[in-house]
Amino acid sequence: MQVLYFAWLRERVGAAAEQIDPEGATTARDLIARLCAREARYALAFADMAAVRVAVDQEMADLDTPIIGAREVAFFPPVTGG
């Protein structure tokens, strides 16, 4: 599964995109929990879950949206364009 990170999530994870084995994670929240358990950089990046937004296969989603079968999951902070 392709996982994307933007803005300070990208900086803290240290990557804009990664191929990640979801290891059976069923939701975005579940995937984050597995990543945080795996490496400290994820625990740092996802320390404030209230500031984390999710898109699954380029559709805006929430942390409890199912990700089984998804090709791409993106994590990013609230948007600040305009």
Partner: protein, 158 residues
């Protein structure tokens, strides 16, 4: 309902020419009575003090899709003759133009409302992130509650 041709949405590093964009939008359509433009500029004084530069990050591909969806929603809500959205990305100096929204209609109420709607939705739904660079380093801009409040007024009540 369609404009005379050309893209409705652009995400680009280059600056834009407001007058030329308005001309392109209105040329050949003499039913248009009202054109509203919104231009966003980089402010030198930010929440954390003076900034030397701003960096606009976005999500290529998804950004254009999000902006096109916002434009389609505006066209469904108001009788618009033409719409245009340009958003810049990359490094921007204080005073630089960031975003342009244009809405053209027969009468001014629709043009004003659509332009405000486009900006409110762009601010809360299009995947752009601003990082300010100042004397104390880089700082990601926080989302503003006021922007969520502004966007919420376009939702159905109740």
């Amino acid at each position: 309902m369609a404009d005379a041709g050309g893209a409705k949405v652009s995400v680009q590093r280059e600056d834009f020419d407001i007058g030329a964009e308005i001309d392109r939008l209105t040329r050949g359509n003499r039913d248009i009575g009202a054109v509203v433009s919104f231009t966003g500029l980089v402010r030198e004084r930010a929440a954390a003090g003076a900034i030397a530069a701003m960096e606009l990050e976005h999500w290529p591909g998804m950004t254009e899709k999000a902006l096109a969806a916002i434009v389609a929603e505006a066209e469904a809500r108001w009788p618009l003759d033409a719409v245009r959205v340009i958003h810049r990305v990359g490094p921007l100096a204080p005073g630089a133009r960031i975003v342009l929204v244009l809405a053209a209609s027969r009468h001014r109420a629709a043009a004003f409302e659509a332009a405000e709607f486009l900006m409110d939705y762009l601010k809360t739904r299009a995947p752009f992130w601003k990082k300010e660079h100042g004397p104390e380093g880089g700082r990601w801009v926080d989302a503003r509650d006021a922007d969520d409040t502004a966007a919420a007024r376009w939702q159905p009540k109740g």
